[in-house]
């Protein structure tokens, strides 16, 4: 799949924002002493990150002015469910941030809102992952590791952002999640590498009993929409480079820097975000759509 910057920003930024908010709410529920300024910083940053992600996702649309229509088909469409959940999840963010900023008190409401502030992002991230995981036509996405991955990567990148705004209270836990996310990513790559080639051109043509098929005259002289959108070719060299970049910047370097107590948390968060963008770039670039069987691929 063509790795478009708008959709890469969409899931990396919103993932980090939701992860950050989950950490904040978890921290509040555990009764950590967090000063008001940190709460305001955390809610503001998570709102900004999620908003950047959502705005970026609308840039991908042919008609961004009609984006509101996407809230209507929640009965069948994961994209529609994602849109609705993303809007609802702003509720606890704005409540906790606003109540703290305006010093309104409402102390007995903070705990239930923090619970919603954990559940809301988890459900939203799940709907995001299902946009991709529900597509049978893209085997690299149609598996459980995509669903698990989106949750852990949001938690790991959000955890780094949380340390940046709220201090080093839980840095060992964040480090552990970074390591867990690293393991999930490696398992995902093993999974998709092992399952490559399960569909054959002859299956796509409905003619598995006529021998081996190869393209003869091309259907059209120039590339069409399908080939531009779904015909991305990732060279093995570039894939290796991007995988190392994603592993290193997304998980390993942030984990090491947190462990040794590197003083500039902003730097760790930026490296982590960059690594996540490399990871998300690969998520698209590595995913092969079965429509390529009608064109250049013998197997997908």
């Amino acid at each position: 799949m063509h790795p478009a910057l708008s959709v890469i920003i969409f899931t990396t930024f919103s993932g980090m924002g939701y992860g950050l908010f989950i950490w904040l709410c978890g921290s509040l529920l555990m009764g950590d002493k967090i000063d008001d300024q940190s709460i305001i910083m955390a809610t503001t940053l998570s709102t900004i990150l999620v908003s950047i992600g959502l705005i970026a996702s609308t840039l991908h649309l042919g008609h961004p002015e009609r984006a509101w229509r996407a809230f209507s088909q929640w009965r069948t469409s994961w994209l529609s469910r994602e849109g609705i959940m993303a809007i609802l999840t702003f509720g606890p963010m704005v409540f906790i941030g606003g109540v703290t900023y305006l010093e309104l008190g409402f102390e007995n409401l903070i705990a239930p809102m923090a619970v919603l502030g954990i559940l809301g992002p988890i459900v939203t991230i799940f709907t995001t992952s299902m946009i991709y995981a529900s597509l049978k036509a893209i085997p690299a996405w149609h598996n459980v590791w995509v669903k698990i991955g989106y949750q852990v990567y949001a938690l790991s990148s959000g955890g780094v952002a949380y340390i940046m705004v709220a201090g080093w209270l839980h840095y060992m836990m964040v480090t552990a999640i970074l390591v867990a996310a690293l393991v999930v990513k490696i398992i995902t790559w093993i999974y998709i590498d092992k399952h490559r080639g399960q569909y054959k051109r002859e299956d796509a043509l409905g003619l598995p009993d006529f021998g081996k098929a190869k393209p003869f005259e091309p259907a059209h002289s120039q590339k069409n929409y399908l080939q531009r959108e779904m015909g991305y070719n990732l060279s093995p060299k570039k894939r290796a480079l991007m995988r190392w970049l994603a592993l290193g910047c997304g998980f390993v370097i942030p984990a090491i820097l947190l462990y040794i107590g590197f003083p500039v948390a902003l730097f760790i968060a930026l490296i982590c975000l960059g690594g996540m963008m490399a990871e998300r770039w690969l998520f698209f670039a590595e995913a092969e759509h079965v429509v390529r069987l009608y064109y250049d691929k013998d197997t997908v």
Partner: protein, 243 residues
């Protein structure tokens, strides 16, 4: 609404006979010609006379060479357009309801006034049936010539998709697959009709008739006949009247 109808009254679709198709592209050209001025037109056509023309086509004619041991290679021309699937994944993923499957005849359509151009439907389709119109910012696809097949102002025999009426070889048939007595249902039942990509579990309505199998016995009989005739001719040529 992007919920799929539980059952459609009709299942209108195409039956494409790969044994007959000669790959002339007339159906694709005729499709573009009809639909660019039809209800879903104009169909994007960028730099049509330039070095790098691109645009939307609802129907594309692929071709493949099949190799099988002990058989002569065969060339198969393979027209591909929307299959109007019963379990159409392109419909259920649509966040706006622009993508729909009609309960009366099963035709899958895009409402261009509601489509936001998110392209997710084209990702969900395993067949590459949908193409994005970059000028209009909406998704486009085969309508089964919905503006032709119900038009009572044209003669009844012409009320079929334009790809079907145009095909000079008679490789394309149109009808109701829900009716077991229809032309397409009968042809499909008699001829080992195929679903494209059954592994994708989309239940396509359109069906394909495979190329003819090579019949080994028939090939052998023909070979024997040829050799008998050849022997007789050789005898005559050498004025040998022995047997």
């Amino acid at each position: 609404m992007t919920c799929l109808p539980e059952k459609t009254d009709k299942k209108l679709g195409l039956l494409i006979d790969l044994n007959i198709c000669v790959g002339c592209h007339a159906c694709a050209v005729s499709c573009k010609e009809w639909n660019t001025s039809g209800i879903t037109g104009p169909m994007e056509d960028l730099k049509p006379y330039g070095d790098d023309p691109s645009g939307v086509w609802y129907n594309r004619i692929h071709s493949y060479e099949f190799k099988k041991e002990d058989e002569v290679d065969r060339t198969v021309y393979f027209p591909k357009s929307c299959l109007h699937c019963e379990d159409a994944p392109c419909v259920t993923v649509c966040p706006t309801g622009a993508s729909l499957k009609r309960s009366e005849d099963g035709i899958v359509l895009v409402n261009p006034d509601v489509c936001i151009g998110c392209k997710l439907c084209s990702w969900a389709c395993p067949y590459g049936a949908r193409e994005y119109d970059t000028s209009a910012g909406v998704m486009q696809k085969c309508t089964l010539c919905v503006d032709k097949i119900y038009d009572e102002s044209i003669e009844e025999e012409r009320r079929v998709p334009t790809c079907v009426s145009t095909c000079p070889a008679g490789a394309r048939h149109f009808g109701d697959f829900a009716d077991p007595q229809s032309n397409v249902s009968k042809l499909a039942a008699e001829n080992d009709a195929r679903d494209l990509f059954p592994e994708m579990e989309t239940k396509p309505v359109n069906q394909y008739l495979p190329p003819q199998k090579r019949v080994k016995e028939a090939d052998k009989k023909l070979e024997q006949k040829v050799s008998t005739v050849k022997d007789a001719l050789l005898k005559w040529a050498s004025l040998d009247f022995s047997g």
